[in-house]
Symmetry: C2
């Protein structure tokens, strides 16, 4: 098999994705990035390694889209609109052109869907697993974006969408026996949520306008919430029953109560966790409803440096064995 | 040994490098990047994999600095001033804290030397080799930066510094017998040039002001020059004897004439190759001299789509077996 050179590979697969004028069709060594007047640039970067952040035999289309979406999720949590990204791709021995074509198609699909254009990149070979580093650029119309450290006592804590699908979806993807009692459609739903997270891009303007603090949930709700509270030097009272579960995740937890902890401490949710001051609750909820993204209040920020208190529906304290999932 | 968590690792080693306000001390999920009025952002990214782009047992301080410098070299060739970077680091099994500390020190040394601040990043583990992806941000006071495709017939082609030290330095670093006849100081000089390339940041304003086309030489002068000419739809007459060689590289080529080809087609020069219109030659040379960076005219751009012509000092055509080095 005649291998494409790096230049051929770029022009065939990646140049069509580089639609911003500053990317110059990826024919140069650097791009220019213009920031419209009145806008500010938000920058985030996430790397993914095969068999750590995704499975090497996942569909390349989905691997590509996940690589973009985990970054889009960070932008959304900061209230930013997607703009552009760079991509570093380390290809393992034996990579195939058809694999790369599917990968590039995935980038194209989500790039178009989210208004997220390829700005530049680098393709190298590696003797190790496929490794993908995406550097994402978003735009916000203010230089005051919601951070982790702005939560104040009295704020309501919200999460978007549903929690636990990603962690349960990894089990489903692996054919774990714990989910054998679920319907196939439920397992498929969960696996899909693991493979293709849904960044809450539509919610970004509401978060920007109303949240006092915000982050995306990627390493488990319990641990990420603790990080947000610690950064804000506050604590919280949380209602376990208020954590939104999808019907499939609920079914899994009904089958095996240990999966509640998996759901709340596992990774790969890519939902938004944010704190909203009491007087802005109704406008935040209305804005979320207007963009069709569910947001659920799960508790209240309180003063103090103690660990956040999770209570079940009988008012009993709940402890989690594992605070947070870490890909690291 | 108790391993640091990712958060501890960030706060201990990387947060001190994040001096821009928008980086928020790496305590958040994203950074903001302000672009001063009248400035434009130049973005480039390069990934390095152990034992492909550097040797895994190179000094971690030098690995870090090389990772920054290959990106700084791209910025310099585009006339941009260094501003900030993000870093994705995939650490192999068995990484050690003292390794990471040395690595971070290297980032700190060059970050300070070049005014290049850490803006954000991601640290992941890998089952493969150490992998480093740097996304670099530079600033230019214009949106018209020198590209590969602007060379015109009559322009003079210049290269900065000296050519071939990097490729010969890799041989030196590996203890290759071809260099056994050199003095130890010469081998050390060459190895150092491989380990620690010198981005021509000081030359950036002169390149921005005077070059019609510019790129950095990273994959060998012969191949990179051919790319610049192809992009510009022109050709060139080149004078082999005018290619600047360091005394150590000259000594190596005197020992073994085959090393001339290694020098001109090997990688890792990280010098600037640029085309300068005839009427700007003297001001370009004066500007280069003012910033203390040698620039050497190596030939002239001519019309036509034929392969560039390299001639030796007797006027004979020189052919290169290998056009260009590729890390890919």
């Amino acid at each position: 098999m005649v291998r494409l050179t790096e230049d051929q590979l770029i022009s065939r697969f990646f140049a069509p994705l580089a639609i911003l004028p500053g990317a110059r069709g990826l024919t140069d060594d650097a791009a220019t990035l213009s920031v419209p007047a009145g806008q500010h640039l938000v920058v985030t970067t996430d790397a993914l390694v095969a068999d750590i952040h995704f499975l090497a035999d996942d569909d390349p289309d989905l691997i590509a889209r996940k690589a973009l979406r985990v970054n889009l999720s960070d932008l959304a949590a900061k209230g930013a609109r997607p703009h552009a990204y760079t991509l570093c791709l380390a290809l393992p021995p034996g990579w195939r052109e058809d694999w790369l074509q599917r990968f590039a198609e995935g980038l194209g699909v989500d790039g178009q869907a989210f208004g997220f254009a390829l700005l530049g990149g680098d393709t190298v070979k590696t003797t190790g697993p496929l490794t993908i580093a995406v550097n994402a650029f978003g735009l916000v119309p203010t230089d005051h974006i919601p951070r982790r450290d702005g939560a104040r006592a009295g704020d309501t804590l919200y999460v978007s969408g549903s929690i636990g699908d990603g962690a349960l979806g990894l089990l489903a993807r692996r054919g774990d026996a714990k989910l054998a009692g679920l319907a196939e459609t439920e397992r498929d739903f969960l696996a899909r949520r693991y493979l293709l997270p849904q960044p809450r891009t539509g919610l970004a303007p509401a978060v920007l306008a109303h949240a006092s603090a915000s982050m995306d949930v990627s390493d488990g709700l319990v641990g990420d919430l603790a990080k947000l509270l610690r950064a804000s030097r506050v604590s919280a009272d949380l209602d376990l029953a208020a954590v939104p579960l999808s019907p499939a995740a609920q079914a899994a937890c009904d089958l095996d109560a240990a999966l509640v902890e998996t759901s709340l401490t596992g990774g790969d949710d890519y939902e938004i966790l944010c704190a909203v001051p009491a007087e802005q609750r109704s406008t935040f909820e209305a804005a979320a409803q207007a963009c069709g993204i569910a947001v659920s209040p799960i508790g209240t920020v309180v003063s103090g440096h103690h660990a956040p208190r999770w209570r079940d529906d009988e008012g009993n304290d709940v402890q989690f064995v594992r605070g947070s999932f870490s890909h690291f």
